[in-house]
Subunit: 209 residues, 4 copies
DNA sequence: TATGAATGAGACTTCATTCAT
DNA sequence: AATGAATGAAGTCTCATTCAT
């Protein structure tokens, strides 16, 4: 096996461990997760993890690398850029479609989201900033979309920072709440309906016209 | 000292420990918090805690008791019940005022909210249900308010479950994000502005009329 | 049990652990000694050690505290100060007696000496300086004795720093070599003879007169 | 490449590893030294070491092989044998020159001496005997020299075993102390001066004549 | 023969819990 | 009822050794 192949295998092994770590941190949170459990999930010996990461801490800190900038940017660009501006009904369709796609992505990466949520409170400020650097930058793409539509007279004047954050928060939290807090009393809502309702809420509010 | 006074002192000491636990769990999360740290925060010896709680686990499970039903119900009744229905501008004032008051309450109980957030992912389903029983019931009071206004023709027809949850989520998460994720790049928003923007968003949406 | 008695017991327990540590470090050296072995030697649980010392390292660093300054100073003062100067035969008796007493003390504290020897090479410079601060200061008392006898015309002019160190080194190393390097081929020497020979060597050298 | 050349390369590689091991054991002691560090110092991979030595233990046990018998014997023969006996001043010159040369050799092999010192306490009796077999035999050459000079009436009657050991110990320990225990307070002595003082001490003692 | 990734036993250390005082 | 020293299970991490390449 040549050195190129070796290097490749190292990268693969590293990802294998990192992805196992995400699943375990999602189940347990950082403090409750054990290296032994991560090792078992990754199907390697405990010691092997330390050939790829300095410590459990560093392993945890490497998770944001999985939120690859291109992935996020691509998603948002697809959703919000290069779309021909149209009338309000067209925008509603666009937003609802993006929302549905975002929900789909969230469900696929639920462990990642959960592992972040499980630990966000206990992170020190610096690490937290590192964790949220990319997602927060991504919001600016949404803001640009909103600003564009304001300029074209489709949306009203507003604080785009607040609105972009509000829309993102709503989508993420609805998925999390649905997936996490399932009580016998509360019937789960269909994601289809959630997409449409949230989008309508964003566009038209609740006032009767 | 009579037996009544003794019992009272026991209750007081128990709450003293529980509140200290909330602060520590908020800082560290369940897994990272130590009984020694909770003891120091409560100004008792570590052993004393075990005179009031079976284990660290039980101590943690007792936290929802602090979300007293009356407190939550009172707040929501004050905010959403017994208000004379009025025109849309009146409702805007009402909602903005409720929102501001909710933010105030959240800030006062930030440790409690943080300690719940820190642990929600790692709780088993049963405990999680226990944690969220009261807050979820509280949502029904909001729903009743929305339904009333729909019937009176002030708000449009909508899925009140989704809208009530959305409004609650928005308020809670904006406070948490502000308090937790402070990066040097992002200037903090004034809560005053947030209340107004969120309320306007809820009522009127972002469509230009 | 009052708090005074408690404090006393803490001091006793601390010494119990420290003395066990000396024995184990003497057998194994710092790197090979295990906390578990020290705990067993001290007849406490492994965890208990950490109620008295921050780490294995700090435990090791606390050993010089056992070489109490007074003990060393007292020994040397008894041996070398307040002695009426006399003729060379009187000095020979004095030195031989001191030498014998030093050997006795060394044999009683052999573990301490061995534990220092076992680790001296691997210590960082700062720790090493800390370890040797007291013994090196003690040499100055011997130097004073030599200088006094030079002034009185009993000893010849010489570099007292070198001679004091030489005498101390000889005594310590003869004991260590005897106790450590016992091969079948080499018959052990009597300490009595060593004392006398080393003292004669120091005083008269090996030249035939 | 012929088999002879192959065998030679094996020997060379083995020594390369052994010498690296000496340096690392001198720095860290046996317990703290790691095979990885030795491998890096020897510029080979960790696995390679196991093609030449059974274990870290065996590697350590092979160190005495570096104290080649011829080397030691040659040095001592040059110094102490075949010298024309002369008067006491001539012997002083001879001893001072030997002492200076011994110091030079010690400084050149300081790592070896340190690695032995670092481990002497923790060795089991058998290995220790193996370590010291050659050096102890070397002492007999010195003893022969002393005995010769006694017979010729230049040195006084004495226990040559003790005196030979004393002289060797003094020289070795002065070098080690100088190289190991450097505190800011103590100015280092010139080796020139040490050679002369130790030799004079050996020959004439400290008595004023 | 050389490599270095994988292994897992065993080290240091923490901390929930107990219990004598 | 309160204390806090003692405990030891369990966690993180290291590193000698093996073995497929």
């Amino acid at each position: 096996m040549g050195p190129a192949s070796k290097r490749k295998r190292k990268v693969v092994r590293r990802e294998q461990i990192l992805e196992a770590a995400v699943r375990v941190f999602a189940r347990r949170g950082f403090g409750n997760a054990t290296v032994a459990e991560i090792a078992e999930e990754a199907d390697v010996a405990a010691g092997t993890i330390y050939n790829y990461f300095e410590s459990k801490e560093e392993l945890f800190m490497s998770i944001p690398q999985l939120i690859s900038e291109p992935m996020l940017a691509t998603f948002l660009k697809d959703a919000f850029e290069g779309n021909e501006p149209t009338d309000i009904t067209g925008e509603e369709r666009l937003l609802a479609r993006s929302c549905a796609k975002a929900i789909e992505t969230l469900l696929q990466n639920l462990d990642l989201v959960k592992s972040i949520l499980a630990s966000v409170v206990t992170l020190d400020d610096e690490t937290r900033a590192e964790y949220f650097r990319q997602p927060l930058q991504a919001l600016t793409i949404m803001e640009r979309y909103f600003r564009d539509r304001i300029e074209r007279g489709i949306f009203r004047e507003m604080n785009t920072a607040i609105v972009a954050q509000a829309y993102a928060v709503l989508v993420i939290m609805f998925v999390l709440i649905q997936e996490l807090i399932r009580t016998a009393d509360v019937a789960p809502l269909a994601y289809e309906e959630i997409s449409q309702e949230l989008t309508k809420l964003l566009l038209y509010g609740i006032e009767k016209r």
